[in-house]
Subunit: 214 residues, 2 copies
DNA sequence: CTAGACATATTCCTATTAGAAATAGTCTCC
DNA sequence: GGAGACTATTTCTAATAGGAATATGTCTAG
């Protein structure tokens, strides 16, 4: 009894809304704070705010989304000529419909599992293809990355804490800080596991080695 | 001085190797354990083994990859007629070239940051659009998911521990178990933060409320 | 004063990735 | 003997990633 295509699915609150992909909601979400922003602004904004927990959309995606969102009436745009040098730009604002739509999405969308693509773990999973030292090196680099991200989240969280308007972004930054701290600790734990594994292998191979090297 | 296109980049060990996307390496990695597998097998395999830390490729991707890998000579295939019912299938094995290529990838590829797309955090970041109760509900569901995954990883890790051949996959399962435990704890910590935030808001709004309600 | 680096602003192009659906054969259970 | 489930693969479409191209303007070093 599954609908053939749930495009333009209605919502339970009566309003007919087009089905949109995740990125659309991210862009609309950025605009839901009420500011008038250009595509370029949005890119920078998302790079700075979403990077800790959500992959940043590319320019092409953002500009594409904005066109789509305008077509369905969730945002409107106007051109602005810039006083201080710089090229003219098109700025976008969210409409009441758009605000209702993101709000509905934030409230009613099903809770979906996070997407994780952990290249480092994929490589370690293929441990039979690497030397132990190289594994440690890869893990060490990853640990560094996690600590860098943790530190950035910490700094940003400190900056956001003051403003009452950033209460929720602030909360998520705190989460991010802990997330990357955990990622770092997980790397450390795995380094310890690797040492243990190596020790066990050495113990097992000791007899072999003696037989090979006189 | 960046190369225009590094397709077919050479490696430092002399061998010319075509540049492949991540999924190719995942598929080739699955085959690097030496078994002869069909596309269908690979899909199930990856669903069971990579799901904890690496998004599983779809059927279409796997079959596509296999064709590409065969074209570049990293795998070879043959048809097998199945005795016990079932349709004939095409099974793939890794070649020496292919093994050298994954090994090279596992050893030399740059360490890249994991990709995380955390829809739940995106929604909480937009906390100004949700009621506090709904936020708690979403977070609670996510906590459940994390605990389920942790438990699955625990079970799989217990199963893999025995076999010496699974030493590295086993290590990564252990990591996964800890990762999901941490994800669960992070959800709990955030629930506590939400309570704290609500308490602070109530305290701040107490004066207002008195003025409003006689 | 000018070449080059840098920042804003947007578009174009292409490959990768995701995922649903179509197709097809065999098996089992009722 | 038909419904549903499992194996097995292909096809199609949309979403996503990301580099390159194209403008335009500022600022700085030589």
């Amino acid at each position: 009894m599954t609908e053939k295509k749930a495009r333009g699915a209605q919502a339970g609150d009566g309003a007919e809304r087009p089905a949109l992909p995740a990125t659309s909601w991210a862009v609309l979400g950025l605009l839901s704070f009420g500011e008038e922003l250009s595509g370029y602004d949005l890119k920078k904004w998302s790079d700075w705010s979403l990077r800790f927990f959500y992959w940043s959309p590319s320019f092409s995606q953002i500009y594409g989304e904005l066109k789509r969102l305008e077509k369905v009436g969730y945002v409107t745009s106007r051109m602005v000529a810039q006083e201080t040098g710089n090229r003219d730009k098109r700025v976008y604002v969210i409409t009441d419909e758009g605000l209702a739509a993101v709000r509905h999405w934030a409230r009613e969308a099903p809770v979906e599992p996070p997407v994780l693509k952990h290249g480092v773990m994929l490589r370690l999973w293929l441990g039979h293809l690497l030397e132990a030292d190289r594994m440690r090196e890869v893990l060490g680099r990853h640990r560094e990355y996690a600590e860098t991200m943790r530190h950035r989240a910490e700094v940003d969280a400190a900056g956001a804490r003051a403003e009452a308007a950033w209460a929720y972004p602030s909360l998520v930054l705190k989460w991010s800080e802990r997330y990357y701290a955990s990622e770092r600790d997980l790397a450390d734990a795995m380094l310890a596991d690797l040492d243990e594994l190596a020790a066990a292998e050495d113990a097992g191979a000791a007899g072999d080695a003696e037989r090979k090297r006189p």
